[in-house]
């Protein structure tokens, strides 16, 4: 059976980001107590793969580089319909920039066996770098397309992929594996059913260390990352903050006077 490999990243729930803070002493990000969810666009990637499963009987394998306590989140991908999860979990993988992340994910994709298509979310909402898709493709030696708004196939072997370049739409046609970065325009991810949740419990979820994957220690984690975060800071906002309330006529008069004082009218 052909196989679709889907990259999934567990991220801190965007609904709780206002609770993120920096430790004033160390400058380290505090994210304890914030729940973990599947990166939303990765569900679009999963949906694209699951449609190939529904239509042509493909196997759907999820790969993820994540801390071990995110297994529960990854089970959700199994509940949606994926067949198995291969997870890389190792302290040595921590602090990875996109280059080291892509290198590690490429090893997981190879571990999954022959991938006939690799689907990813176009970006993760927490990092928002847009970088893993092209870099994963580079490590796998495959073509890629990001900002994908449509994936179509008649026969499960030739694919038409539509990319949104903002000023134009570009449609590619290709037979053979690619790495695709899906946006939320690409499809509507299915919801998890009760049956899905039950069957997910018995599906395989394998965890690999860096050594299991024969990863080069120079290319993973912080060591394999050419970029370093040299500082984190909360954006500083200095504004006048004159808050007006009352009847529209009054507040609008005050606003217009204020804007004139500030020289923008």
């Amino acid at each position: 059976m052909p196989q679709a490999v889907v990259c999934v990243k567990p991220i801190p729930d965007p609904k709780e980001w206002d609770r993120l803070s920096l430790d004033p002493e160390t400058g380290v990000l505090k994210r304890a107590g914030i729940s973990t969810v599947i990166n939303p666009l990765d569900k679009n990637a999963l949906e694209a793969a699951l449609q190939l499963k529904d239509r042509f009987g493909w196997t759907v394998t999820v790969v993820s580089m994540a801390p071990p306590d995110t297994q529960k989140t990854l089970r959700e991908a199994l509940a949606m319909g994926a067949d198995k999860v291969l997870m890389a979990s190792d302290r040595a993988l921590g602090g990875a920039a996109t280059l080291a992340t892509a290198y590690t994910l490429a090893a997981l994709v190879r571990k999954a066996g022959d991938a006939d298509m690799v689907f990813c979310g176009n970006m993760s909402l927490d990092g928002s770098t847009n970088q893993v898709v092209p870099q994963l493709a580079e490590f796998l030696g495959l073509p890629h397309a990001s900002h994908v708004v449509g994936v179509e196939t008649e026969d499960g072997s030739t694919f038409r992929v539509t990319v949104d370049l903002k000023d134009a739409l570009l449609t590619l046609q290709h037979s053979g594996p690619m790495v695709l970065g899906l946006t939320k325009e690409a499809n509507d991810p299915r919801l998890v059913s009760v049956m899905g949740i039950i069957s997910a419990q018995s599906k395989p979820l394998e965890v690999f260390s860096a050594q299991d994957l024969d990863l080069d220690p120079e290319k993973i984690g912080q060591k394999g990352s050419p970029t370093i975060v040299s500082g984190l800071f909360m954006p500083e906002i200095k504004r006048r903050r004159e808050i007006l309330s009352g009847e529209p006529e009054e507040v609008v008069d005050r606003l217009i006077d204020g804007l004139r004082e500030m020289g923008v009218l």
Binding site: L125, Q131, E138, F139, A168, T227, I228, P235, L259, M262
Partner: protein, 333 residues
């Protein structure tokens, strides 16, 4: 690892779509020029496409000492594999210390692949670039939707690569300057693979948000397509452009290309008016360089009131008609 001292000069990838060089390339040249001047090195632009010397030499006036032109009919349309190979060769030959890309869909798709090929670092969606004490590039990027900013450095690998949000750098004034267009021999160029079977340019929205002096933005709180017309009317009165937040675009009230925020446009108008916008950091990161920020929202606890100069607590659909009529009256005086 690269021998860092072998690398010199600040490069900009000036992307073209359909033969038109995108503004973000010109914006980045302004910054590259400034960085190059403070180190006494060259700034250069790189253009890949099917273009003539005459079509690219304008980039000299925006700050390029050199414009590397890689031109061939098969380069007219973007192909990540071909473009990556050409940029890899050029970087390895000329060795720039930094290479900046626009963070639009083309730059964001190409730069990571080039960085992986060159085994170097790439920061994403920078909002600021400055030199640090070691002469390296401090790259400021938003994380977690902008609720946090991080400074990224790339100490031991070259070139230092970054994608920069369109609009994040000010458009420089074009000046009469010396410079040259260097035509790079691209050799045989295969037609794009994967094959491009369709290329459909999109229609542009009426008033460009980039560079607008006044920006009127609407969010989910506007409530309907009918009410959205109030924003357009206000923009017309003030000679501005209309932008939107993600939820308003999802409702279909505004086109995708006017989204303001981390994954959309960054604006820096003299006056920004946000109506029915709650002010999540994703949006705020795209408006924070506005000179004056006005917020209208009926929820007194809306986050946007934390970052505004004037905040009106009230229903935008009731406040806007009054604002429009009073402005018409007073601006007519």
């Amino acid at each position: 690892m690269a021998n860092v001292s072998d690398y010199s000069g600040f490069w900009v990838f000036a992307e073209q779509i359909n033969g038109k060089i995108a503004d973000v390339g010109r914006e980045l040249l302004g910054k590259a020029r400034e960085l190059a001047d403070s180190k006494g090195v060259e700034a250069a632009a790189v253009v890949v496409g099917d273009l003539t010397e005459d079509e690219v030499k304008e980039l000299i006036s925006y700050g390029a000492d050199k414009v590397y032109l890689l031109s061939h009919p098969n380069l007219k349309l973007y192909s990540s594999l071909t473009y990556t190979r050409l940029l890899e060769d050029l970087v390895n030959k000329e060795k720039p210390e930094a290479f900046l890309f626009g963070a639009g869909p083309l730059g964001a798709d190409l730069a990571p692949r080039v960085a992986a090929r060159l085994n170097t670092g790439l920061s994403a969606h920078c909002v600021d670039l400055k030199l640090n004490e070691e002469g390296g590039l401090d790259q400021v990027v938003p994380g977690f939707g902008g609720s946090l900013m991080a400074t990224i450095v790339c100490p031991n690998h070259r070139p230092q690569m970054a994608t920069v949000m369109p609009g994040a750098m000010k458009m420089p004034e074009p000046k009469e300057r010396e410079g040259e267009v260097v035509r790079v021999d691209v050799g045989e160029v295969p037609s794009p693979s994967p094959e491009i079977v369709e290329f459909k340019p999109k229609e542009r929205s009426a008033v460009a948000l980039d560079g607008a002096d006044v920006v009127i933005a609407g969010g989910w709180g506007i409530g309907s397509e009918e009410n959205w017309k109030l924003l357009e009317e206000l923009a017309e009165v003030l000679g501005g452009a209309v932008g939107a937040t993600r939820p308003a675009i999802d409702e279909g009230w505004a086109p995708e290309d006017v989204m303001i925020g981390q994954s959309g446009k960054t604006v820096h108008p003299k006056l920004y008016i946000g109506a029915g916008i709650s002010g999540v950091m994703h949006h705020v990161v795209g408006i924070q360089d506005s000179e004056v920020i006005v917020a209208i929202n009926k929820d007194p606890k809306a986050q946007i009131f934390e970052v505004c100069d004037f905040g009106i607590v009230g229903d935008a659909t009731k406040v806007l008609p009054v604002l429009i009529s009073k402005l018409k009256e007073k601006l007519g005086e």
